[in-house]
């Protein structure tokens, strides 16, 4: 390699006069052979981006039914593959991959005669699921304010003074000095509540009797007693209602201090079954969140939850079993009930005992992990039991812990057959809470969650506009699924969207006042469905310029599920900023070489088609002072290497090409499968996904039916031992 040779010679020059340590190559240990599962995973990591997920070919030649001897193939892999870095897989790895290719990538092995199931897993709740579950389990009132208002957080800093309590009292709670306790959070006291729209006055109550205006709020009003009240005006901003990182309408924001979700590489959703794991930071924050939830519940709420007045001696076991059934999503064993009963007995009083049961269950692995372990069937497979099915249905469709109807269905055997599962899936999908889950799916599938935090040069852009962009996409997506045709195609081809005044300004529309999102038709033929959404166009652009590569990759990866290897070493610089050239011209130069074009011909010409949209999705006719050239080309839409062209002149035409393709409808079904299962499908699961994909296409791309089919497919409740 040129650079390292030069580097070595420079070192030698620099080292003149010093004692030279012996130069030796980095020791390279022999790479060991891989297990079958490891080989499948390595194929996915190293080979699939060029040779296809099942060896069907793409950027590289097909591998299925390869007519090659094992030894010869091993040598090719060992010395030449992957092309950008053969050292990635040598020796035993190369042998194992050769075995994998020759035995697994054959028509016979790929025929899907047997459908190997997904691995059994424990799936940690993510922040959204955790917060929703705790609110439901404790019956916490998420607040009286309309769901579209963001909660208000009161913060009081006692400046080092030790206080026993701080309450917020005001017009919103009848000036009750004991109704709204603040919680000490580190060095400050906080309380988060959703407040009704309007003007409020309030004070803080220290130690139960010292009334002061809120020092953090300079807005004051005369209190009529010679002092002042703090004044607060809530104007409900619809655009601020959603897109919060935790989702859900939980005014307590129980998950606010929990660490962000880790995402597995190449997996876009925040519910990764593999990546989500508990560290001590998680456990610390889970304990605190549980304590905050109990504080919000209060004594009266706790008494109501326990619903038994005989003291803990008489009530603890029943409460542990009753609450535990809901928290663990299954009946407790006698030993478990006894364990929590003992916990309560240790407490100094009854309520402390009940609180310990609740807090204990809220940090229990049986609550925090959704079990998809199943019961051994004697043939090496496992079968999810009825409670595990209920749990998967509930988190998959309504994002929270199963309700009583679902648990009762599990208990009665109603979930033991596909018809019973289907009935529950349809019930949950019709439940308004499913909107939260599908909105999260849309945000993460499209990768738009970060837009409010983005930096843009467009002076109109700020976090509120970013949130409005997400709200637009969520509302549009939910409208199509629940009120519109319900068809995938409409997501891409809709000639309407939902805007408020600020989005309307961005889109060049007139006559849309206010903060609320209103349905409007695109009158100009420039935009079409999700590809015209400011959220998507902003997320795939930089602050000051569009990015044809990002936008092209968005279409290829997120909409078509086509993968690309990372750029090879020394791929070279991104195009330098040429003050006289458009973005398109700069990138066209960049990909003019055959070497770069081998991948970028699939990516850039798609992104070029979105060049009329600037970094915030605003329509533009000029870039860098030059007129924008319209249109682009979608090569090989169905699969890389197909050899097809699909030139287009406008975004609606691009959207139609995508919507018409089997690749896109299949991809959407696969993304939904991944979201529900918490992982990308493995090679083994390909056969399980195939009938879901086929059903989705044959049914005309009905999104609701897809989300039912994900739970009624034959493999839904079978698992195999985890790698």
């Amino acid at each position: 390699m040129r650079t390292s040779t030069l580097f070595l010679s420079l070192l030698l020059l620099a080292g003149c006069g010093e004692e030279l340590a012996p130069l030796r190559p980095a020791p390279r240990e022999r790479q060991p052979a891989l297990s079958a599962d490891e080989a499948a995973a390595r194929y996915g990591e190293l080979c699939a981006s060029c040779h296809g997920a099942i060896g069907e070919g793409g950027l590289g030649p097909p591998l299925s039914d390869l007519a090659m001897e094992h030894g010869a193939l091993t040598e090719v892999i060992d010395l030449r593959m992957p092309e950008n870095d053969p050292d990635q897989c040598r020796d035993g790895c190369a042998e194992s991959l050769a075995t994998f290719v020759l035995t697994r990538l054959t028509s016979e092995a790929l025929a899907c005669e047997a459908v190997p199931p997904a691995p059994r897993r424990l799936r940690l709740l993510n922040r959204r699921e955790y917060a929703a579950s705790v609110v439901d389990l404790l019956g916490l009132d998420a607040g009286a304010a309309p769901a579209t208002c963001e909660p208000t957080t009161f913060t009081y800093d006692p400046a080092g003074r030790a206080l026993s309590s701080v309450h917020v009292a005001g017009t919103f709670n009848g000036w009750d000095a004991a109704a709204w306790p603040m919680t000490r959070s580190g060095i400050v006291w906080t309380l988060t509540r959703a407040l009704p729209v309007g003007v409020h006055e309030y004070k803080l109550v220290l130690n139960g009797g010292e009334w002061i205006p809120d020092p953090a709020n300079p807005d004051r009003a005369d209190d009529g007693f010679g002092g002042s009240n703090s004044r607060l005006e809530i104007t409900c901003d619809a655009s601020a209602s959603s897109g919060g990182s935790t989702g859900g309408g939980d005014a307590l924001d129980l998950a606010r201090d929990l660490p962000l979700e880790a995402r597995a590489e190449g997996y876009v959703f925040d519910n990764s079954a593999e990546a989500l794991q508990i560290t001590s930071v998680h456990l610390d924050e889970l304990l605190r969140a549980g304590e905050r939830a109990l504080a919000a519940l209060g004594d009266a709420g706790l008494d109501a939850l326990v619903g038994c007045t005989g003291g803990r001696g008489a009530c603890a076991e029943g409460f542990a079993r009753g609450f535990g059934r809901r928290a663990f999503r299954r009946p407790l064993t006698d030993a478990e009930a006894m364990r929590y009963q003992t916990l309560a007995a240790e407490a100094p009083d009854d309520r402390a005992g009940y609180r310990a049961i609740v807090l204990g269950m809220l940090v229990s692995p049986y609550f925090l992990y959704r079990s998809e372990l199943g019961q051994a069937q004697g043939d090496g497979t496992f079968r999810l039991d009825a409670y595990e099915v209920a749990t998967a249905l509930s988190y998959g469709l309504v994002g929270t812990t199963p309700d009583d109807a679902l648990l009762d269905a599990a208990a009665s055997g109603a979930l033991d057959d596909a018809a019973g599962v289907e009935a529950q899936a349809r019930r949950l999908l019709a439940d308004p809470r499913s909107r939260t889950v599908l909105a999260a799916f849309a945000r993460e599938w499209l990768g738009i969650e970060g837009v409010p935090d983005a930096t843009k040069q467009d002076p109109a852009f700020d976090a509120a506009l970013g949130r409005a962009m997400i709200a637009e996409t969520e509302q549009f997506f939910l409208h199509v699924v629940f009120e519109g045709s319900g068809r995938y195609r409409e997501l891409l081809e809709a000639d309407y969207t939902f805007v408020n005044a600020r989005l309307a300004e961005l889109y060049g529309m007139s006559g849309v006042p206010g903060e609320d999102l209103t349905r409007v038709a695109y009158a100009d033929g420039r935009r079409s469905g999700l590809l015209g959404h400011a959220s998507v166009l902003s997320a795939t652009a930089h602050s000051d310029q569009s990015s044809p590569i990002r936008r092209g990759l968005f279409v290829r990866r997120r909409l078509l599920c086509q993968e690309f290897p990372p750029p090879p070493p020394d791929a070279g610089a991104v195009p330098e900023v040429d003050p006289t050239a458009t973005t398109r011209e700069r990138f066209a130069q960049h990909t003019a070489s055959d070497f770069c074009a081998s991948c970028h011909r699939y990516i850039d010409p798609v992104g070029f088609g979105l060049e009329p949209f600037g970094p915030t999705g605003r329509w533009r006719t000029e870039d860098n002072g030059q007129p924008i050239e319209l249109g682009g080309d979608m090569l090989d839409v169905e699969y890389l290497g197909a050899g097809t062209h699909a030139p287009f002149e406008s975004t609606p035409e691009l959207a139609a090409i995508v919507a018409d393709s089997d690749a896109a409808s299949g991809c959407f079904a696969r993304q939904a499968y991944r979201f529900v299962r918490g992982a990308r499908e493995t090679l083994d699961e390909r056969c399980a996904v195939a009938p879901i994909v086929d059903g989705f296409r044959e049914g005309g791309g009905d999104v609701r039916e897809l989300f039912v089919a994900l739970f009624t497919s034959p493999d839904f409740r079978t698992r195999r031992e985890a790698p």
């Binding site: 040129r2 080292g15 870095d85 959070s185 040069q457 602050s543 020394d570």
Partner: protein, 451 residues
């Protein structure tokens, strides 16, 4: 957000309730000398910045990062120049390589950087040291970021690996981080030590449950539960350990947060305030004996952070957006007529200034017979060498602090293309962990670094 409360009345300082040093736990970080008499560092801190340095250019021009020695003194390159006289506290390691796997790739470099394993297929050194050297500390590991989670960054954007191919996001909010570290260290907790603490009994129940669950599965699911058990042990230790008084380095544990806004953690205009506050949180936690293993991750590779919007920096330009990764592709040569290159150089100087600030904070606190810096080991690193070629050779590593006497500083050390795993192994040794090897190529300590 329409409430006015959130945007007004920011406190300027975070401090512990009561503020008294005696209130803060102290994990007993006494000087330690190993059985063989060799000195060890009390703590280790990794300082990471993204997108490399102006190394050997595509056209073959020499590195503009590496310093050199002249007349017995270290001469700093333009990029390192902001270190100034603190160069005497550093060993500048030239010529380490991370192997050829994924060479040319940012993620490939980030995966190897602290794991010493291709593809990030192993635990990173910070986590290993947290499990070993830091096992008895209230917080064995502290991972802070400055806009390190921008745009939902995860996976290969983060450098601390809990296990094979498994990262966990750092905390980007200094106020939250401070609260997490110090809230249990405050004296106002209403529970006297003799009173019943439900959390202890609860964690006991949890442990039994996790252990029972662990028996029913194998493989990756099982290691997930092992990690859960580690977490229970750590939190239990925090609750049950009787803590000796805080060390003298922990006189007034507080952190200035001017300019920090939890609602604008990804606004580049707040970046310098966040970097300063996170550095202070890290140093304060270490000064108070809460942790001895820390990672401070500035941004992440190939991020959208617009460095020309960092107020008060050399590259500040209100009318021009320049990102780190964008500038790193400055072209084939070190061309000072090229805005990309000059910005890249200024950005690197900014990261070095941040490193300097960190060293200054450690040097400002007396500890034992010297300063905290004398008893610390601080490692500067990035995931590639030259930002344009993405080379994994001649990696930019600076090791600072006297490591309790294990490290003699103020010099340049040539590594002659040795694997960086050797540096990782040497760091473990400096922390008193005498592993035989580290990662896939750290089969011996880096010659000439320690002792």
């Amino acid at each position: 957000m329409t409430s006015k409360l959130r945007s007004l009345g920011r406190r300027r300082f975070l401090w512990t309730l009561g503020g008294a040093a005696a209130a803060v736990p102290f994990a007993g970080l006494a000087s330690r000398v190993l059985g063989d008499g060799s000195a060890t560092a009390r703590r280790v801190l990794f300082y990471y910045f993204p997108d490399g340095v102006p190394g050997v250019s595509q056209d073959g021009e020499g590195s503009l990062w590496n310093p050199w020695e002249e007349g017995g003194a270290v001469r700093l390159s333009e990029a390192l120049e902001p270190l100034g006289d603190l160069a005497r506290e550093c060993v500048f390691v030239r010529g380490l390589q991370m192997g050829s796997a994924d060479e040319g790739s940012h993620p490939g470099g980030a995966k190897k950087l602290l794991t010493g394993m291709d593809g990030g297929r192993g635990e990173s050194l910070d986590r290993t040291l947290a499990r070993t050297a830091g096992a008895s500390d209230p917080h064995p590991h502290l991972y802070l970021g400055v806009m390190a989670n921008q745009d939902g960054a995860s996976g290969d954007k983060h450098i601390s690996y809990l296990g094979p191919e498994h990262t966990v996001p750092p905390e980007d909010d200094p106020i939250r981080a401070f609260g997490r570290l110090f809230r249990d260290a405050t004296p106002s907790a209403p529970t006297p030590s003799a009173a019943w603490d439900p959390r202890r009994s609860i964690l006991d129940v949890s442990r039994q449950e996790v252990e029972a669950l662990r028996g029913s599965i194998g493989g990756r699911q099982r290691s997930k539960l092992e990690l859960h058990l580690d977490a229970i042990r750590e939190v239990e230790a925090r609750l049950t350990t009787d803590l000796p008084p805080a060390p003298s380095t922990c006189d007034d544990p507080r952190v200035a947060t001017d300019g920090v806004d939890p609602d604008r953690l990804y606004d580049p205009s707040t970046f310098p305030a966040l970097l300063r506050a996170q550095t202070d949180v890290m140093v304060t936690a270490m000064a108070c004996g809460l942790t001895r293993v820390g990672v401070l991750q500035c941004s992440h590779h190939t991020s959208e952070l617009i460095m020309s919007r960092l107020p008060g920096s050399e590259m500040y330009d209100a009318g021009f957006d320049m990102r780190s990764h964008q500038a790193s592709h400055y072209g084939a040569s070190h061309d000072r007529g090229n805005r990309l290159f000059t910005d890249y150089l200024k950005q690197r100087r900014y990261w070095v200034q941040g490193f300097r600030y960190l060293l200054e904070q450690l040097a400002a606190r007396p500890e034992g017979d010297g300063t905290m810096l004398d008893h610390s080991l601080v490692v500067l690193c990035s995931e590639v060498s030259d930002g344009n070629t993405h080379s994994h050779h001649d990696m930019p590593f600076v090791v600072a602090g006297r490591a309790g006497g294990a490290l003699s500083t103020g010099r340049v050390l040539d590594a002659w293309d040795r694997p960086h795993g050797e540096l990782l192994l040497s760091i473990a040794h400096a922390m008193g962990q005498r592993f035989d090897s580290y990662g896939q190529a750290g089969s011996q300590p880096l010659p000439g670094l320690l002792g």
